[in-house]
């Protein structure tokens, strides 16, 4: 053996290291990203101790530490830090967040009476309570041992009232309003067509609805008035008196008094709210239920649409189409479709699906609706259906390519065996090729889902909104409202991160929402992978 071939081995080793390095960099970036999101996303719900800090200039701060960073312009060898506190009480302080030079903090203590409040409006508050004014007017001082149980009871009572109110105003009055809108459209139509009987009917219906509306409003008023008017009297860091009506309080906790178990409970209570509740305060607070639901429903629909389309197309391309230049051009085009920027699909979706398709659907099936409802479109505006379709179109190439590959990978013997028994081509495809290539097809669907679930840009054009008043799914027929606009986690991240008026308050929510989006996509994928593996297991186990 000569020297030159000998020396090739170490050179080859170099490439091994090089590829290994690539892997490490890639892995490092992924792990870094995930840990950043997980760390920041999870700690949002954790309640740390809340200090009372005395600052050089005589100020007192009560607030939860939010960030610590190097001051701009401080020397690199002696970095000076500044701290950001979330002090809450936006209505008094103007801003819930506050930056303080770390060096200027004289002392920090953690008194047990610091109270954290999550409020319906104006964000959180950190105060030192003085007394509780109960609904019957009695005052209980903080020093009284009856304070805490009475306080918790009043908070619970107040939140029951609030929930009842939401139920009445948002849901029941909402339903009445919706019915009213429909009835008015029907009335206008009847008047236009001079259908005397129907006019009378509709008028009666509307009158009935108005009565219901009034009675619901009265009920709501009664709830407000009859409910707890208890309030908490406390003072803030500057010593000002703050009176918070308990109907405003969503959650109250003594951050410096909680044991670990209490903090864990609080953590899960907040997490639960985040996942199952509706958003508040320009989406910076409350839960993400509508967005989670919207993302999920949209992704599932997209998969349901893209799979048959893609599979059918691939079957034609692979099994029926004549090999030749046309087929080659079609294949190249399909592959290039995968490289088109997603916003282009959004524009196409808006131009074609929404305006052309949706517009025609409205003309054909909702002409009355258009005519008698101020030209309010039904399908001729963005909505769940168009979002799913747009993303289905965008992810179509993934499914086509995966299916074609899966079909090609079915052993030739299997295909021949089927044809040799006298099966037609279609029977062979349906009974042999499709089942055998199902795992491969599902791999394509998984990739499509992963891509579709995280896509935002095109959706902004074809139906995702910042705040949707209703879910696309509810109890009224046809239960699933494909024409409705909906919320989406990806858009939510964008909206919180870049469109929010209070970026400090939005920051933790951005991470939490991102984490949620990742978890959702991972869950969807795990589900699909699980199905695929079960399919695969059926085709394994050949022994020779």
């Amino acid at each position: 053996m000569d020297k030159s071939s000998d020396s090739s081995t170490p050179r080859g080793e170099g490439w091994v290291w090089f590829t290994g390095l690539g892997l490490i960099i890639g892995l490092g970036m992924v792990i870094g990203l995930l840990s950043l999101v997980v760390m920041n996303g999870v700690t949002v719900f954790w309640a740390p101790k809340v200090p009372v800090a005395l600052v050089d200039d005589g100020r007192t701060i009560i607030g939860q530490l939010a960030q610590r960073r190097i001051r701009a312009g401080s020397p690199a060898d002696h970095p000076r830090y500044e701290l950001q506190y979330q002090v809450g009480l936006r209505e008094l302080n103007g801003n819930s967040y506050l930056w303080v030079d770390e060096a200027k903090i004289k002392s920090e203590s953690f008194p047990a009476d610091v109270l954290g409040l999550e409020r319906v409006e104006n964000g959180p508050a950190f105060v030192r309570p003085l007394s509780l004014r109960k609904s019957d007017g009695k005052l209980i001082a903080i020093t009284d041992s009856a304070f805490e149980p009475a306080f918790q009871a009043e908070v619970a009572a107040a939140s029951a009232v609030r929930e009842k109110l939401v139920e009445i105003t948002r849901h029941r009055i909402g339903d009445v309003n919706e019915e009213m809108d429909k009835a008015r459209v029907a009335l206008r139509r009847a008047e236009d067509l001079k259908l005397a009987a129907e006019i009378a009917d509709r008028r009666r219906q509307i009158a009935g609805l108005e009565v219901r509306f009034a009675s619901l409003q009265a009920e709501a008023k009664k709830v407000v008035e009859g409910g707890a008017v208890a309030s908490l009297v406390s003072k803030d860091a500057a010593g000002r008196e703050v009176v918070v009506p308990l109907t405003q309080v969503i959650r109250a906790w003594f951050p410096n008094r909680l044991d670990t178990w209490g903090r864990v409970q609080l953590f899960f209570s907040r997490l639960g709210e985040f996942i199952f509740d509706e958003p508040r305060e320009a989406n910076t607070e409350g839960g993400l239920m509508p967005a989670i639901f919207g993302t999920l429903v949209m992704t599932v629909f997209m998969s349901l649409m893209v799979t048959p389309f893609g599979v059918i197309t691939a079957i034609y391309l692979r099994e029926y189409a004549q090999n030749g230049p046309v087929l080659r051009i079609v294949r190249i085009s399909v592959n290039n479709l995968a490289g088109v920027p997603s916003i282009v699909f959004g524009v196409f979706g808006l131009g074609f699906f929404v305006y052309v398709l949706g517009g025609s659907i409205d003309q054909l099936f909702f002409a009355d609706q258009l005519k008698y409802n101020n030209n309010t479109p039904v399908f001729g505006t963005g909505g769940l259906l168009w979002c799913s379709l747009t993303l289905a179109l965008m992810t179509l190439p993934v499914v086509i390519v995966a299916t074609e590959e899966a079909l090609a990978a079915v052993p030739r013997g299997m295909r021949e065996a089927s044809l040799a028994t006298g099966a037609s081509k279609w029977q062979t495809i349906r009974d042999i090729l499709l089942p055998a290539s199902a795992p491969g097809i599902l791999t394509g669907v998984i990739l499509a889902m992963a891509r579709g679930a995280g896509e935002v840009a095109p959706l902004m054009l074809v139906g995702v909104v910042k705040l949707a008043p209703t879910l696309p799914f509810d109890g009224s027929a046809p239960f699933l409202h494909m024409d409705r606009k909906f919320m989406h986690l990806g858009f939510h991240v964008y909206d919180l991160g870049f469109q929010s008026p209070d970026s400090d308050a939005a920051r933790p929510m951005v991470f939490a929402t991102t984490l949620l989006l990742i978890v959702l996509v991972v869950c969807l994928n795990i589900g699909a992978i699980w199905i695929r593996n079960r399919l695969r297991a059926r085709f394994k186990g050949a022994s020779f």
């Binding site: 013997g413 065996a417 040799a420 028994t421 099966a423 055998a436 050949a542």
Partner: protein
Amino acid sequence: MPEIMNPPSSSRIKVRPATEREGRKDYISIRDYGFWYGQKKALDAISLDIPERQVVAFIGPSGCGKSTLLRNLNRMNDLVDDVRHEGDITISGRSIYDAGLEVISLRRRVGMVFQKSNPFPKSVFENVVYALRVVGVRDRAVLEEACETSLRKAALWDEVKDRLDDSALGLSGGQMQRLCIARAIANRPEILLMDEPCSALDPIATGKIEELIHELKDQFTIVIVTHSMQQAARVSDRTAFFYLGKQIEYDTTEKIFMNPSQAQTEAYISGRFG
């Protein structure tokens, strides 16, 4: 009854004398048949008659066109792009290229067993009854009955009767091949084509399949491609020897192995080339 004979050229091959049975002598008739893959001529001027309910073996060196001819009998080669043929093949007097004859119905009459066993990734039961499902049989009793008869004929019933619902991919190689035979005969074709059915099997499984061929020929006309002289001699009534796409000799197996008229045939069966 097998006998040991001492032919001049192949001393250790057992030959069964041709069995004479009722049936058309020219059941399958191949006339001046030529076949091209693109520009390449794979078969040239083949003419032979295959009698009903007999076993005919195709032998010859690799690449001589045995599989090509076999696969043309049920028009499996239609699946290959850019092929063309000349001459004609008739079965029961009717051309397989007859425009009125659908290739699907041809394939229902001409079953095929491949060299590499190719069971479907389905249960044993579904594999066997596939040909019946394809023609729309839904009656469970009929399917079960057909499954059992075919598996019995394929000498597999006792081995798999308790695992009919298990995946066919869990069977052994020999069992799979017999399953493929069961599948091929489930819809009672008239002709069974076998392309080296035993090439991947051990001697015991091979023996079973050869026994099977003996039994099946009461009902089917069988054409088998084989590389084993012994096998051709053991199972076939007539043998055709091909070389480079041409038919060199076609006669009773006895004659081919004991007294071939062509020198090339003699050279091949005695192992001097191939």
